[in-house]
């Protein structure tokens, strides 16, 4: 996926990069987009299918789900009854086919604890989780971009090395511990902010800060390294020769060039971001997917656990697809390489 500025260009490519009409007809110009999006979509479907299978295997891996549910507190007869009631006494393959069939109709099973649709439960809490994830990504970008630009402009300075050392320490801090410390200081001791539930908009502040922290350090590390690479390239030398200041070079040319690795890293980190969010949610008693999942695990509400895992896989696939298409839109070099 490395961009190859020196690679021989396809005759149609320049027209496409600049958006001009080309001689071979208009359809050709979008076709790389479509084929690429199509192949990624297929890949995504495969991944979702994998997630479905893995979550199904996980739930059925250790013996009979009914006895897992009972937790050794029911008699053999009762377990057998429960097993029959929930349909767990059918052969595994049958159940798998029935499960996948149900999925195709949007049916992810019924929550054992609440007796309502598992999918409905997850979808009901999803907006609250999305809110803090999007908030955390925005906050992390808002901090990471200026910090890394400053650090590149003053590279080798005291500020630059101090930033790098701080970030290394930040990367070692467990999110849940940091979240607890935040809650201890700002919610319990100072009483400035609420620490439990989603009662007011100010309740967003602490969870968002806690989730953004690890993201900031990896984003700054990546941005700093790639910006430094760009600053060492020939076109920057040419810009300098033209008398353009370093600040303008970084802001107008450098940032545009690091956009695609930046988005790629963001996509790679989504998984960790979601994982961190799940833990942080339980600390702030946030009514989101994480709290739902951990509570479902504690009472062994298997359909809800499966639904959460599948939903997270679907969300990750969609976000990755969006990021890939964004990168293609931003960076014309990648459009050529990937065609």
């Amino acid at each position: 996926m490395t961009a190859m500025p020196g690679a021989p260009l396809d005759p149609i490519a320049p027209a496409e990069a600049t958006g001009l009409p080309n001689q071979r007809g208009g359809t050709l110009a979008i076709s790389p987009w479509l084929t690429y999006a199509g192949s990624r979509l297929l890949q995504g479907l495969f991944v979702i299918f994998g997630a479905v299978t893995i979550s199904f295997i996980l739930v059925n891996m250790i013996g009979d789900p009914a006895s897992v549910l009972a937790g050794g507190q029911l008699s053999h007869e009762q377990v057998a009854n429960l097993s029959h009631q929930l349909g767990y006494d059918r052969p595994v393959v049958d159940r798998y086919i029935a499960y996948v069939g149900g999925l195709l109709h949007g049916d992810l099973g019924v929550s054992i604890r609440y007796g309502t649709s598992a999918l409905g439960l997850v979808l009901a809490v999803l907006p609250a989780t999305l809110l803090i994830v999007i908030g955390a990504i925005s906050l992390a970008c808002a901090i990471a971009i200026p910090v890394s630009v400053l650090s590149v402009l003053r590279r080798g300075s005291y500020m630059d090395s101090a930033t790098r050392r701080t970030l290394i320490v930040f990367q070692a801090i467990p999110e849940f511990w940091f979240a607890l410390m935040l809650a201890m200081v700002f919610a319990v001791a100072l009483r400035w902010l609420p620490s439990m539930g989603f009662t007011s908009p100010t309740a967003l502040i602490l969870p968002i800060i806690a989730i953004a922290l690890p993201l900031v350090s990896s984003l700054v590390r990546l941005l700093r390294a790639t910006l430094l690479d760009v600053m060492a390239s020939d076109f920057v030398l040419a810009l300098r020769a033209k008398g353009i200041s370093d600040r303008e070079i970084v802001v107008r040319h450098g940032l545009r060039n690091v956009m695609s690795p930046f988005l790629t890293l963001l996509a790679l980190h989504l998984g960790w971001l979601i994982g961190g969010t799940l833990i942080i949610e339980t600390i702030f008693v946030w009514p989101g997917v994480g709290t739902l999942l951990v509570n479902a695990v504690k009472v062994r509400d298997l359909p809800v656990i499966q639904a959460v895992v599948i939903l997270i896989a679907v969300a990750t696939v969609i976000l990755n697809l969006v990021v890939d298409l964004l990168i293609m839109a931003i960076d014309p070099r990648i459009r050529q390489v990937r065609r």
């Binding site: 890949q43 995504g44 495969f46 991944v47 994998g50 997630a51 893995i54 979550s55 996980l58 739930v59 891996m61 250790i62 897992v68 290394i168 320490v169 990367q171 070692a172 801090i173 467990p174 999110e175 849940f176 511990w177 607890l180 410390m181 809650a183 201890m184 319990v188 001791a189 990896s218 790679l268 980190h269 989504l270 998984g271 960790w272 979601i274 994982g275 961190g276 799940l278 833990i279 339980t282 600390i283 999942l293 951990v294 479902a296 695990v297 504690k298 062994r300 298997l302 656990i305 499966q306 959460v308 895992v309 997270i312 896989a313 990750t316 696939v317 990755n320």
Partner: protein, 293 residues
């Protein structure tokens, strides 16, 4: 000829490796100092301090600096200092086991798949796609509904996912390396496949594997403490630092020391592993970007 060049280069690498004891690299030095300090603390603590799992309800919620309990006690009267010392040992043991297990699986799969480029390779790439798409933590949380909370189940659970980066890294190295002249020469000389894999291809990827392992150790620790914090990982009598933080969580201001000190232990351990990974990466010039985490 390329055989000769390689062996000289790998000897150079070994010489650089041997300088690990006192390397000319700030990150690595800091990491070694922190690790030695923590290990000494853990061993001395194990020998001299009270049993960390012993509950003395009379001594619950003692403040730091109380006689006999330097860092105070938790709600059940367990000594925090002793728990921290034992927790460091538990964490190190888990890191070592997970890294060893996932390295063993990942490196073998990567070697075979990169060298054979058959259906094994194809299958591996699909698993890699899956691993990149399904965030591991929800999977761990889901899996811990079923698996009991002993050290071994946590190790197997985490290794279940963490072998994939090794496989991808080794495969990528092998795909490049297998086209080199010395591999063709070895094959021509009649070397068996396992010999080529273990004696020629494995050393070619060794430095990258080492760097990846030290970077991964920190991540493993964060996952374990996160799981134990949620009550889904290790449970007493295993002395997990994450578990102790979850104990202090119920009343964080009344007993801040129960949360703060085990957390500092985790930060120091993860910091040491990350610094070691960064330092080794710079020292050995091994690029593992895009594989770790």
């Amino acid at each position: 000829m390329s055989v000769g060049v390689r062996s000289v280069r790998s000897r150079g690498r070994m010489a650089r490796l041997s300088r690990v004891v006192w390397p000319r690299n700030d990150a690595l030095r800091t990491s070694i100092i922190i690790l030695i300090a923590l290990v000494v603390f853990a061993i001395v603590g194990k020998l001299l301090l009270v049993d960390p799992t012993k509950q003395v309800l009379r001594d619950s919620y003692l403040r730091p600096g109380s006689p006999g309990h330097l860092l105070g006690t938790d709600p059940l009267g367990r000594d925090i200092l002793a728990w921290c010392a034992a927790g460091v040992l538990t964490s190190l043991a888990i890191c070592a086991l997970v890294v060893a297990l996932s390295m063993l699986i990942g490196v073998s799969v990567g070697l075979v798949s990169g060298y054979s480029r058959s259906w094994v390779d194809h299958g591996l790439m699909r698993i890699t796609d899956l691993q990149l798409a399904i965030p591991p933590l929800p999977l761990f949380i889901a899996a811990s509904a079923i698996v009991a909370g002993s050290i071994y189940s946590v190790v197997i659970l985490v290794s279940f996912v963490s072998w994939v980066p090794y496989a991808r890294l080794v495969r990528a190295r092998v795909l490049v390396e297998r086209e080199r002249g010395y591999i063709a020469a070895a094959r021509l000389a009649g070397s068996r496949t396992w010999r080529i894999l273990l004696l020629h291809l494995l050393p070619a990827a060794a430095t990258e594997i080492l760097v990846l392992a030290s970077l991964q150790a920190g991540t493993v620790l964060l996952i374990e403490s996160g799981l134990s914090f949620l009550g889904l990982g290790l449970q007493p009598p295993n002395t997990s630092l994450g578990y102790m933080i979850s104990v202090g969580r119920t009343d964080p201001v009344g007993s801040w020391w129960v949360v703060v000190f085990p957390g500092i232990m985790i930060v120091l351990l993860v910091l040491a592993f990350n610094l070691m990974g960064d330092g080794l990466r710079d020292l050995l010039k091994a690029d593992v970007e895009g594989y770790s985490r």
